[in-house]
């Protein structure tokens, strides 16, 4: 369910949408795309994609297909496919994904490791860990 950059702002029909100005706590187990623009504390699991909107504050681990971060995430992220940290995004936690991109301005404070995809061949695709730190503020 790969998405292009132009699609990031909003999902058209998210399964779950937490808008601005509210706080939600607990375990969110969704079956589809999740978009969070408000505050969330707990755990997010979905078989779809997750967008953390600009201004969102998340204190939660996230387990999803693709994860796009434009807000702030305190927690670990497991993206089965792609994790994208956008220019306003901050991730303070360890991340694991098949592909990772961080836009200029985006911050990752934590360990990053790559998932082995079915297409990858261990002899040519090294598994590695990186720690990237962007400038805060």
């Amino acid at each position: 369910m790969a998405k292009h950059r132009a699609d990031f702002a909003d999902f058209k029909n998210p399964d779950t949408l937490i808008g601005f100005g509210v706080s939600v706590e607990g375990t969110l187990e969704a079956e589809g795309d999740v978009q969070i623009n408000g505050k969330f504390k707990g755990r997010i699991t979905t078989n779809g994609d997750v967008i953390i909107g600009d201004g969102a504050e998340i204190r939660s681990d996230i387990d999803a297909q693709n994860v796009y971060v434009a807000g702030e995430v305190h927690g670990d992220i497991l993206a089965q496919e792609k994790l994208e940290i956008l220019e306003t995004g901050r991730v303070l936690g360890n991340v694991e994904s098949s592909a990772l991109s961080i836009e200029p301005g985006g911050i990752l404070k934590g360990k990053s490791s790559m998932l082995e995809t079915s297409e990858s061949t261990p002899s040519t695709t090294p598994t590695y860990e990186v720690e990237e730190e962007g400038e805060e503020g």
Binding site: D15, V22, G26, T27, A30, N37
Partner: protein
């Protein structure tokens, strides 16, 4: 074989005329039927199981929301379609099916259009389709946009601007594992009629936004919801207040085939 169930107390005994009309129609259509009239809803628990058989193809309920709710509680999981002949004091369930009169019920039974509906439950009461929880003032606002005398009256009273809408602090627990806190302008629960939608309810919550006149939408899927608000809010099904907060609302895990008026058959619903 059709089973006709009538509640003597429904609508102050208004069932009798309806019963005669239904029986007359079934005779004309050469459909075999059995009529069971109960003196009181409490008798249903004893009478209903023995009245249903493998040959029962349709249960026709002559009564209002209370009678229908009681029968739905007792009906076995086997998919027997239900038809409602609205003769109760409150007939919101049948109205939701497009059946707001005995005449429409007779037409619907004759046509036998049935659709699968998921039912929701709040306390002892069932609902289908959707319900709304909101401050009374906000519900009144819906009518402001409709031209007419009420529109004029509400304008005179000053309910004119969108930012007049009340927002009430509330806590909502979804499936007992998610806690939502915010200032609620409106909450709408839409039951999902497709059997594969396991959770059963789409919950749309509107809260006040950051700026005056702004509103924010939130969406969840859930099978149960408990709402507690700072002030008691009405739970509206159709045009009726069926409960007030605090309230727990659940979606039944199964769907039920119900006879509907052909006017309301939506393209995206399942035919029974």
């Amino acid at each position: 074989m059709y089973l006709l169930l009538a509640n003597k107390k429904s609508g102050n005994g208004g069932y009798l005329g309806a019963q005669k009309k239904v029986e007359s129609q079934l005779k004309k259509l050469k459909i075999r039927y059995k009529t069971v009239v109960v003196e009181d809803l409490s008798q249903l628990q004893e009478i209903l199981p023995g009245s249903l058989s493998e040959q029962t193809k349709l249960v026709i309920i002559m009564g209002g929301d209370s009678t229908v709710s009681e029968i739905i509680n007792l009906i076995p999981r086997r998919h027997i379609p239900l038809a409602i002949v609205p003769v109760g004091a409150s007939n919101t369930l049948s109205t939701s099916l497009g059946i707001d009169s005995v005449r429409k019920a007779l037409e619907a039974i004759k046509q036998s259009h049935s659709l699968n509906f998921r039912l929701g439950r709040i306390g002892e009461k069932f609902f289908l389709g959707s319900l709304q929880i909101a401050p009374r003032k906000n519900i009144l606002k819906k009518f402001i946009r409709r031209p007419g005398a009420l529109h004029q009256l509400l304008n005179v009273l000053g309910f004119t601007e969108e930012n007049d809408l009340d927002a009430i602090p509330a806590e909502i627990a979804l499936d007992y594992k998610l806690k939502f806190s915010g200032e609620i302008v409106s909450l709408v629960i839409k039951l999902e009629n497709k059997a594969e939608e396991k959770r059963g309810m789409l919950v749309q919550i509107i809260t006040r936004g950051e700026k005056k006149g702004d509103f924010t939408e939130h969406l969840f899927h859930a099978s149960s919801l408990t709402i507690k608000a700072e002030t008691s809010l009405p739970v509206i099904f159709g045009n009726d207040t069926i409960a007030t907060t605090p309230a727990t609302i659940k979606a039944l895990s199964r769907t039920l085939p119900m006879v509907v008026s052909k006017e309301i058959i939506p393209s995206n619903n399942e035919k029974a």
